[in-house]
Symmetry: D2
Subunit: 368 residues, 4 copies
C-alpha cells in the first residue's frame, strides 16, 4: 500500500470563511480524516495585531470538529494549521488543505508530506538553541513519517512557531528565567530564525558547530534554502510540515525549489517552475501551465542593508506600513509575474530562510 498526497486550493471570501472547505467535504471530494495540515493566507497585516490568523484557525477548528468527531482542541492537536497573514499587493486569500490517503496505486516517485510537532516550549527556550534542536528533531521525525530518507529528498519545510507575549515573559521571569528578548515583535523574528536554523540543521545545510544562541537573528550568512517559518500567538510548540519527493509515494504531484538571491530574483522563481515541469518560455506561464501549478510557496523579506541591487528601498523607514508588508507585496508581484496567478503563499519574515533579502521558493505542480 502506498500513500498519495493532495493539495486543495480553496479561495476564501474573508478570514472566517470555511464554506469552500465545507462544500468540498459535503461533495465527497475531500475526506476530513485525511487532512494533515491546512496552510492559509489571510488578509490581516501579518504583524502583532493580526487576528485574522486566529479567527481562521478557530473557524477551521469549529468546522472540522463535528466532521472528525473531535473537540475543537482535538482538531488543532491533530491538524497542523499554518495561517500566514498579509495579502498585500495583489495576493489572493486562500487555504491550502493538505491531505494524505492510502492508495492501491503504484508508487510513482511523487510529492510526499510529513508532519510532526515539538513539545510546547518554555518561554526561555524560544529563539534559542533549545528551539533549534527541537525543531531539527521534529523535521527528522516528519521526514521519517513521510518516508523521506535523506535531506536531499526534502524540498520545503514549513514551520509554524510560537512567539513571546508579555504574559509568557512574565511567567518565565517568575521562575527566575531570562528570555531571549523582552520585545514581543522581535521575538517573532527570533522564533522564526531559530526554527529555520533547526531546519538547516536537520537538512545538513548548516553544521551544528556553527550554531549557538548568539548567531540566531544575527549571523545572516547562516540559512536554510528550504525553510519557511511563520510565528503566531496561537500555539506554544513548533508545528512542522515537510514536503519532499519520495519513490514510495503515488500520484501526479511533484515539487521543486530554488533560492531567490534577492526580492526580484525572477530567474530563481523560473528555475523552481522548470524544476516542477512548468515551462517558462516567454517569461510568464501560459494558461495551461498555470493550471497545472498547484501551489507556490515563497518567503519575502526586506534586505537588511536597505538596498536591492544597489538601489535604496524604503521598507525599513516607513512608519505607516510595516516592512514585511512591503516585502510581501513586492515578492508577490515578482512571483505573480512569473506564473500569471495571485493565489500564492507569500509569507513574510525570512530570518535565516534564504540569504539576506531573498528566500526559498517551492513549486508544487501536477505532472503533464
Amino acid at each position: 500500500m502506498t500513500r498519495r498526497a493532495a493539495l486543495h486550493l480553496i479561495p476564501t471570501a474573508h478570514p472566517g470563511d470555511v464554506s469552500g472547505l465545507e462544500a468540498l467535504i459535503d461533495q465527497g471530494r475531500l475526506s476530513p480524516p485525511e487532512i494533515v495540515a491546512i496552510l492559509g493566507k489571510t488578509e490581516g497585516n501579518g504583524c502583532v495585531n493580526d487576528f485574522t490568523r486566529a479567527f481562521a484557525v478557530a473557524e477551521l477548528g469549529t468546522a472540522l470538529a463535528p466532521r472528525l468527531g473531535l473537540s475543537r482542541a482535538g482538531v488543532l492537536a491533530q491538524v497542523a494549521m499554518v495561517m500566514s497573514g498579509g495579502t498585500e499587493g495583489g495576493l489572493s486569500p486562500h487555504l491550502l488543505v493538505l491531505t494524505v490517503e492510502n492508495t492501491q496505486e503504484p508508487a510513482t516517485g511523487a510529492l510526499a508530506i510529513g508532519t510532526a510537532f515539538t513539545e510546547a516550549f518554555h518561554p526561555e527556550e524560544i529563539g534559542r538553541m533549545a528551539q533549534v534542536e527541537a525543531t531539527a528533531r521534529a523535521v527528522r521525525e516528519a521526514m521519517r513519517q513521510a518516508g523521506l530518507s535523506s535531506p536531499g529528498q526534502v524540498h520545503f519545510v514549513q514551520v509554524k512557531c510560537p512567539l513571546l507575549t508579555t504574559a509568557r515573559i512574565g511567567e518565565a521571569v517568575s521562575r527566575g528565567k531570562a528570555v531571549a528578548t523582552a520585545d514581543t515583535y522581535e521575538s517573532m523574528g527570533l522564533s522564526r530564525g531559530a526554527s529555520a536554523l533547526g531546519v538547516a540543521l536537520a537538512l545538513e545545510e548548516v553544521p551544528r558547530a556553527a550554531l549557538s544562541d548568539g548567531v540566531i537573528g544575527h549571523d545572516l550568512s547562516l540559512w536554510s534554502g528550504r525553510a519557511s517559518a511563520s510565528a503566531g500567538v496561537e500555539l506554544e510548540r513548533n508545528e512542522v510540515i515537510v514536503f519532499g519527493t519520495s519513490p514510495e509515494w503515488a500520484g501526479d504531484l511533484c515539487i521543486a525549489h530554488a533560492v531567490m538571491r534577492d526580492a526580484i530574483d525572477l530567474p530563481a522563481v523560473q528555475k523552481a517552475l522548470r524544476g516542477a515541469g512548468l515551462s517558462t518560455d516567454g517569461g510568464q506561464l501560459g494558461p495551461e501551465e498555470a493550471g497545472r501549478l498547484v501551489a507556490l510557496l515563497v518567503k519575502a523579506e526586506p534586505s537588511s542593508h536597505g538596498t536591492i541591487r544597489g538601489r535604496r528601498h524604503i521598507m525599513w523607514d516607513d512608519s505607516d506600513i510595516n516592512a514585511t508588508r512591503h516585502a510581501r507585496a513586492l515578492v508577490g508581484g515578482v512571483v505573480a509575474a512569473a506564473v500569471g496567478r495571485t493565489d500564492l503563499f507569500v509569507s513574510g519574515g525570512a530570518e535565516h530562510q534564504g540569504p539576506d533579502g531573498g528566500g526559498p521558493v517551492a513549486v508544487i505542480a501536477r505532472r503533464q
Copy 2:
C-alpha cells in the same frame, strides 16, 4: 540644427534631496537651461496628505533658481515638475531630469520630448470636458513643439494635473458654480481621468463624440494607451510632457510602449522592452540590457471589480493601506521582475489610462 533629448536618473536619499542634481550641474554634466521637465518618485503615501511631492518641488525650485537666474516661481513656470508619491514594495526614490539641447549631430530618429501647459483651470472645470479639451490642445501644442507630426509618433504623455481643495471648491461656490465633486480625494481621480481622456482625444484613441462630462470617471471602456496622469495640490493648470520618436531628433535614445491588460501582465512589459531594443530571453533583463534601460514609466491601479484573472484581491477593502499603494507595490514587483531594477516610475491612479486594472507602460532605452 537638430535637437537631442536626454534623461538623467538621479537617486535621492530623501524627498528634499537635490544634492545629486546639484552635483551633476556642478560637474558640468547637466546644463540647467536645457532642463524641460523633472519627474520624480518620492517616498510619501501618494495620497491626499503626501507632502513629499511639494517638498521635492520646493527644493528643486530653490536649487535651480540661482542657477537659472530666476525666482523659484519663475523656475516652476518654466520647468514641468511631475512628482509622483509612493515607492511601495521595492521601488527606489529617484528623479528623472529631462533635458533638450541643440546639437550639430545628424538626426537619427530618436526620442523627442515636448512640453506644454494649459491655462489655470477654474475649479468647476476640473474633471469635466473643459479640462479634457484644454489638455488635448496642450498635447497637440507639445507635439508641435517636439516636431511630432502624427499621433502614431507619440509613445507616452505624462500629465500633471490639479485637484479640488476645500478652498477651491468654496471659491467656485462663491461664484455660483458647481464643481464635479465635493470630495477632494475623488477630485484627484476625476482630474486624472479628464486629463487622460484629453490625451486620448489628441492621440485619436477616443472620438470626440464619445466624450462628455458624464463618462469621466464612469465609462472605463474609454481609455488612452499612452496617457499617464498624476494629480497634485501644488498646481492649478495641467502640465503636459509628450514623449515620441521623431526623425528630426538626434541621439541614441529610443522609446516604445505597450498596454498592460491587468496588473500582472508581464508579457506586455516585455513587449515594450523588446520594442525599445531590450532582449528579454530568459525572462529578466541581463545586466547589460538593464544598464541600457534609461527609464520605465507605468501606471498602476486596482481593478474595479476586485479580482485579478478571477482571483479576489483585497486592495479596495484595506482601510489601513490605500488601494493605490497596494497597486504600486504590485506593479512595481512585476516590472522589477522584468528588468531587474527598482528605480522605476510606477505611478498610481490610472483612470482612463489603459483598461480597468491595467495601464500603459513605456520604456526609454539607449540603443546598442
Copy 3:
C-alpha cells in the same frame, strides 16, 4: 414581579477572548438565559476590513451555544451582538454583557432595557426610508417590551445595522433594483444614518415630514440626540437596544444622557455624569465615583467642515489613518479625562447621531 437590568463589564485580552464571560458564568454570577445583548469594543480598525468584530461574535456564539442549548446561529438570533471596532488612543477592549432578570424586588425606577429586531433588509432598502421606518418600528417595539411608554423615558438607543457588499449590490442589480450607493464604505455611513433617523423618528426628535431618501447622509441638521448606530457586515437586519428609565424596573442602576456639541465638549460629558448621580467637582471623577460608573457610551466623528471651534483638524486628509480612527482616539481622550477610566464604549461614525462633529453620550451608573 418586576425586572432588573444588569451590565457586566468584562475586559478582554484579544478579540476572541471569551474567558472572562465564561468565568462569570461558571462562577454563577451571570446566567446565560438572562443575556439580552452583548456590546463590545474590539481592537480592529473599525473600518471595512475589521474582522475582529466578526471574530468576537463568532467566539461569543460558540461559547454561549452549549450553555443555552442552542446552535451558534440560534444564539445570534436571540442575543443582540453589537461589536464596535477601534480602541484607538487609550481605549481598552472590553465586553458589556446586558442581562435582564425577573426579581421580587420592588420597582425603584431604574435602568430598563429592551431589544427588538427588524426583518432582514433588501439591499435596495439600506440607507433609505425603508430602513428609517423599520428602525422606528423596532425602537417602538423595544420600548414596549421594556415598558418604556414615552420617548422621554428613553436615554440611549444602540443600533447594529447592515451594510452593502459587492455581493449584496449584485443581487439587487440582478433583480433590477438600484441601491443607495455602489461604494461599500459609504454604505456603512448611509446605513448608520438611516438607522439614526429611525431612532429620531421613534423618539419624536425629527418629524416624519422632514424625512426622505434625499436627506439621509446629507442634511446633517437632522439628528437624534440619543441614537448610536454601528454598521457591520455580519448581519442583514437592524438590531435595536433601547436604554431608558422606567418606574417599573428594579435595581440600583440609573442612566442619563447629553449631547456633545463637538468632539471636545467636556461640559456635555460632565452634564451626563451629573445626570447619573456622579459628581464632577474638580473635573475628573474621583476613584469612588469612577467605581460607580458602569458604562459610558458615546459617538465620535470628525466634523465635516474640517475644523473644531475654528481650528483646522487633519482627520479627513490623513490617507494613512482613517478619519473615524482619529475621532475615536480624540473623543476617547476627552471622556477618559472626565471619568479617569479608559474602558469606555466610544464608537465611530455618527451620521445623524448628534450634531456635525459631536454626538450623544450616555452614562449608566450605580446609585450611591
Copy 4:
C-alpha cells in the same frame, strides 16, 4: 533695559505654509531679528519617515533668509527650529514663533526665554552620557542667557536632538567607534532620553551619581518633570530652549507647569492651568480663559506596562498605527478637554520626561 518675550501662535494650512508668518512680518507685528526659536506641530506621522518636519524647517529658512539678510543655513544656525510631527486626533497644525525684544517697560516678573546649542555630536555620543552632559551645559547656558539664576525658576525646557542614521552609524564604525544602537528608530528614543536626563541634571532633578550610559532608556524611574525632547534627522547638535519666570523680564506672559502621572491625568493639566492664572471651575476653560492661553506644551507616551490605571491599552500592539501616534491623539484629547482648544503642542516620545506613561505639561498664558 529689560527684555520681553512673546509667542505668536500661527495656524498653518500645510507643512510648508509660511504665509501666516510672512503676513505678521509684513504687517509689522513681528520683527524677524527678534525671533529666537520656532516651534511647530506638523501633520506628518512623527516617526522615521516624517518629512513634514524638514519641509517646514526648509520653508521657514527660505522665508526668513532674505528678511534676516542671511543664507538659509545662516537662519538655521541662529534660530532654534523645533518641529514636532503628528497632529493625531483633533490636534491642529500650527507654529509658535518665540521672540525676545528689549523694552523700556519695567520688569514685572514675567516669562523669560533662553536658547543655547551644544556642539555637533559624534554618532557614538548620541544616547550616552556625553549627550547628557553637553545638554546639561547647554541648559545652564540658556538659563544664564535668560537671566534665570536657579533651577526653581525654570518651568519647561524644550530640546531638539539628533538621531542616528545608517550613514552616521557607518561613519562611526569606520572610525572604530560603537554606537548606542544600530536601530535608527530606537536611536530617537535614546537621544530624547539622554537629552531629558541632561535637563534633569541641570535642573537638579536627578543627581549626577545616578546617571550612567546604562540607565539611559532603561531606568524609567529617573526623569525630569520639565524636559520635552524631540528628535529629528535634520540636525547634529542639541538645540535647547529654556522657559522660566524671571523678575528681570517684562510683559504680561506667565508660565507654570505640572507633571501628568499618566496619560489621562486631567487634574495635573488643570493644576498647570491654575498655576498660570487660568481658572478651571467646571472642568473646561471658558472662552475668556481659553483666549488668554498662549501655549500649552505637553509630552505624550504609552505606558510601557501596557495599561492605564490597570486597564489594557493596545498602543504597543498596533502594527498599523505607531504607538506614539495613539499617545498623541489620546493626550491631545485630554488637554483639549481641559482648555477647549486644539492648537496645542502635544509631542510624542517621553523617555525620562515625566514618569512612565505620563509627562510634563507647561502652560503659558496672558495675565488677566
